[in-house]
């Protein structure tokens, strides 16, 4: 385990905790952006360059901005006056902790994980593109369709109904 991993892990976990626990929604969203950036660093650390850049482009550049917009449109930019936790929050945290213990236990106790260190695999952009255009063409098309549908759907859902359908 390199020092880089620990730095990145602390960055990710710290900002994720902040994103989940801060009182001000905009601060949450900004922490989320930091988490995304940290994940992108983790991907770079794992030699997945393309995915890392795509992560920054999509998550930091689009999803985080989208969330910020949603916060402002729902007037959540000011700090909440009332309690931020829902009534059953103890249960929720308990369940989350349970899930972590179970999943983490599974990872730690697993004997299936490969122990041999392998050479760094190469994933050039060209290879990814070739794969996308040949073997994974159908998922690619489906994703394209999905994004189009989501685009239209999001516009329709968020459109104001009051201004008369016609």
């Amino acid at each position: 385990m390199s020092a880089g991993f620990y730095v990145i892990a602390i960055l990710i976990v710290g900002s994720a905790v902040a994103a989940m626990s801060l009182r001000n929604l905009v601060h949450c969203a900004l922490s989320l952006a930091v988490t995304f950036a940290g994940l992108a660093l983790a991907y770079l650390q794992l030699q997945a360059q393309f995915v890392g850049f795509a992560q920054v482009l999509v998550y930091v550049g689009a999803v985080a901005i989208l969330i910020v917009f949603a916060i402002l449109l729902t007037r959540g930019g000011d700090s909440e006056k009332e309690a931020i936790l829902s009534p059953g929050w103890v249960w929720g945290l308990g369940i989350a902790a349970l899930v972590f213990v179970v999943a983490g236990g599974a990872v730690v106790s697993s004997k299936l994980l490969p122990t041999v260190q392998r050479a760094t695999p190469a994933a050039t952009v060209k290879q990814i593109g070739d794969q996308l255009m040949t073997q994974y063409i159908l998922p690619l098309e489906v994703i394209g369709l999905l994004l189009t549908a989501a685009l239209i759907g999001a516009v329709i859902i968020a459109m104001r109904e009051t201004e008369g359908g016609q």
Binding site: G88, G92, L98, V102, A103, A106, I137, L138
Partner: protein, 683 residues
């Protein structure tokens, strides 16, 4: 001219481009829309004729194998999806027919739709339809055919519901779409099955296609758990798709309702081309159908029953287009029967001749409707012979062709061919006799229609008083509508001569052979006997019709129909179309509605009720306890009651409508799942 085969895609592409161009221009560019659509059809027609000539030349040269052009669409993991187009006589003939009829109907529509606000939309849909239909014809892959097939269905939906502000039109469009979907589902299943058995959906692929010998014999050898060969099962499923699209029993209910669309649409889609697509599909996969006699038997019986039922229903209808619609259903039944008993050539010959004369009849009906100011009830017409002479003459040609008037008209020869084949069928004689009855009824109801529409006095005014000076006087249609009628009537009369027993050019062309003139065959005793029989049937039908309706035309619109006065019970059944719509209403539709209600009830009372009831029961217990507590035992059970109430609250909290509660359950389930997995992995 070998270049035509790889470039066959141009034929559907031209109307598609026109549709795209028309779709983006503003609504008021009517001239552009019409010009683009018609020009694209002319281009397609020219290409289709080239393809036809090429096919002809090849057959003359003695080559009869279909020419194909296959290409790889995309790779999917290990396997590649390949599409392609095919040029064989069947394709060539259909291409020319669809392009020619389509072109004439496009021209006709310019006149018919001239005053419609949505003129450009209409032409956009029409061109899209033509493109999809031509795609069905050329495709060499069942999947490509299916895609175009569904596109055809979509455009049919759009065009039936073209006047969607009319509730009937919207309902009819929906009905057509949903009914055909039932057949298409079976079609899709058959396709999937075929693909899993043979591994390819290409029809012809140099010996590896699914219609070629290798695949077929494997299919025939393969038995299923139901005890039928795979080829039979697949054939029947694909035929179910054709049943839906071609309006055969029991899925014919949408076709008469589809007449809510504009008349050119009825002529193009619901008479000449799209409904024939089902017949074409059966003809295209005929090797597969031929592989099992069971399939052919089913096709024959479905066809002949449809022919008979629809013809009898047509006798008692009063809407000019509805009569023609039932007549179409009936004739499609004839085609199916022809395919079943006699093979591709027999059915296809009737398809081609029918396409021309039925398009002619529909366009004539459209001309009548147009002339009578959107009146469709034949009882309120009459006397149009004088007012619309050209329409009358062409309509007569179509009517005589459909009735099978001996020797001169195309319908006679094609129908005779079917009856001839049915006579020689070794399965049963039932289809032959039923077919004869249907042919008789056909002649009868067409005569009835013509007599009521064109003969006698005009009955639009109440009491039959014809206001000659009224501005609503029926008038002849403009030339842009009548010229296509004349051209079509020319074909309706003459097309029969390419397939007479004496010179069966058409049949031989489809089989890939060259026809020779053979008068011996024509004058052989059996042929003569059958020709005589058909003539008698047709003339008998026309004569009976004349006896009832022609001798003494109706005087007023609401007079009782002569046949009705004869046998009101039968007539009532027929007028109500054997109550099939009603039967469907009380069976399938209400079953569906009932099931939906049952689900709703279950959802509301049972599932949600269980949770609520549990809560309420425990709550109620708590209440009872409290009552006992307060009045009888006083404070003794206070704590116990509280506990029970809390239990009830806990139950009802399970369904509190809060997403997070549900999410919490999912989280617990996730943990349990992982634990199970670990446990499972350990043991």
């Amino acid at each position: 001219m070998d270049w035509i085969v790889p470039f066959l895609w141009l034929i559907p592409a031209l109307p598609l481009i026109a549709a795209g161009a028309v779709a983006v221009v503003p609504k008021n560019r009517k001239r552009f829309a019409a010009t683009a659509a018609i020009a694209s059809m002319v281009g397609s027609l020219v290409l289709a004729l080239i393809a036809f000539g090429h096919s002809l030349a090849r057959i003359k040269g003695g080559q009869s194998a279909p020419e194909v052009f296959n290409f790889r669409w995309f790779d999917l993991g290990e396997s590649a999806l390949r599409l392609g187009w095919v040029l064989d006589p069947l394709t060539a003939v259909m291409l020319v027919m669809v392009c020619l009829v389509g072109l004439l109907i496009f021209i006709y529509s310019v006149g018919y739709m001239a005053h419609d606000d949505n003129f450009t939309r209409f032409f956009c849909f029409l061109a899209l339809f033509a493109s999809a239909m031509l795609g069905v014809i050329i495709s060499n892959n069942l999947l490509l055919l299916f895609i175009c097939w569904e596109l055809v269905g979509l455009t049919s939906y759009l065009l039936i519901g073209f006047w969607f502000h009319k509730p009937e039109a919207a309902a009819a469009a929906k009905k057509a779409f949903i009914t055909t979907r039932i057949g298409d589902l079976a079609f899709l299943l058959g396709m999937v099955w075929l693909n899993s058995e043979t591994g390819t959906l290409l029809f012809y692929d140099g010996g590896r296609g699914c219609l070629e010998q290798g695949a077929l014999s494997a299919l025939m050898a393969r038995a299923t758990s139901l005890g039928i060969a795979a080829s039979t099962g697949i054939g029947l499923l694909i035929f179910a798709g054709a049943v839906g699209k071609s309006g055969q029993l029991p899925l014919h209910v949408w076709l008469p309702d589809a007449m809510e669309g504009p008349t050119p649409v009825s002529a193009l889609i619901h008479a000449a081309t799209m409904v024939a697509a089902g017949v074409f599909l059966v003809a295209r996969v005929y090797p597969l159908m031929e592989a099992s006699s069971a399939t052919l038997t089913v096709i024959t019986w479905v066809g002949v029953l449809t022919a008979f039922f629809a013809a009898s229903i047509a006798v008692a209808q009063n809407d000019i287009k509805r009569i023609l619609a039932y007549s179409t259903v009936s004739q499609l039944g004839f085609m199916m029967m022809g395919l079943g008993v006699g093979g591709v050539a027999v059915g296809m010959f009737h398809l081609i001749t029918h396409a021309f004369f039925k398009a002619l009849l529909f366009m004539g009906a459209g001309s009548v409707i147009h002339g009578c100011h959107e009146e469709q009830d034949i009882r309120k017409m009459g006397g149009l012979k004088r007012l619309m002479p050209l329409t009358f003459a062409t309509y007569m040609a179509g009517m005589l062709a459909l009735s099978g008037f001996p020797l001169l008209f195309s319908g006679f020869w094609s129908k005779d061919e079917i009856l001839h084949a049915a006579h020689g069928w070794d399965g049963s004689h039932g289809p032959f006799y039923l077919g004869l009855v249907a042919a008789f009824l056909t002649a009868f109801y067409m005569t009835r229609q013509v007599c009521q529409v064109f003969l006698g006095e005009h009955r639009a005014r109440a009491g039959g008083a014809l206001a000659a000076q009224s501005p609503c006087q029926p008038h002849e249609s403009p030339a842009v509508m009548t010229v296509p009628l004349v051209v079509l009537s020319f074909f309706a009369v003459l097309l029969g001569f390419v397939g007479t027993p004496a010179w069966p050019w058409f049949q031989q062309f489809l089989k890939g052979g060259v026809a020779a003139t053979d008068f011996q065959h024509l004058f052989s005793a059996e042929t003569l006997r059958l020709i005589g029989l058909s003539s008698v049937i047709a003339l008998g039908g026309i004569g009976t019709g004349w006896w009832f309706y022609g001798r003494r035309p109706l005087k007023v619109a609401d007079e009782v129909d002569p046949v009705e006065s004869l046998r009101p019970d039968i007539y009532g059944v027929l007028r109500n179309k054997y109550y099939i719509d009603e039967i469907y209403e009380v069976t399938f539709v209400s079953l569906n509605a009932w099931w939906a209600r049952a689900c709703n009830w279950l959802e509301f009372w049972v599932w949600s009720g269980v949770a609520r009831a549990a809560g309420h029961v425990v709550l109620g217990l708590g209440w009872v306890n409290r009552a006992i507590d307060e009045y009888i035992v006083n404070l003794g059970f206070d704590r116990g009651c509280e506990g029970v109430t809390r239990g009830g609250g806990w139950f009802s909290r399970l369904q509190n409508g809060q997403v997070q509660t549900y999410l919490r359950v999912i989280g617990v389930a996730l943990a349990v799942l992982v634990l199970l997995l670990i446990w499972g992995g350990r043991s």
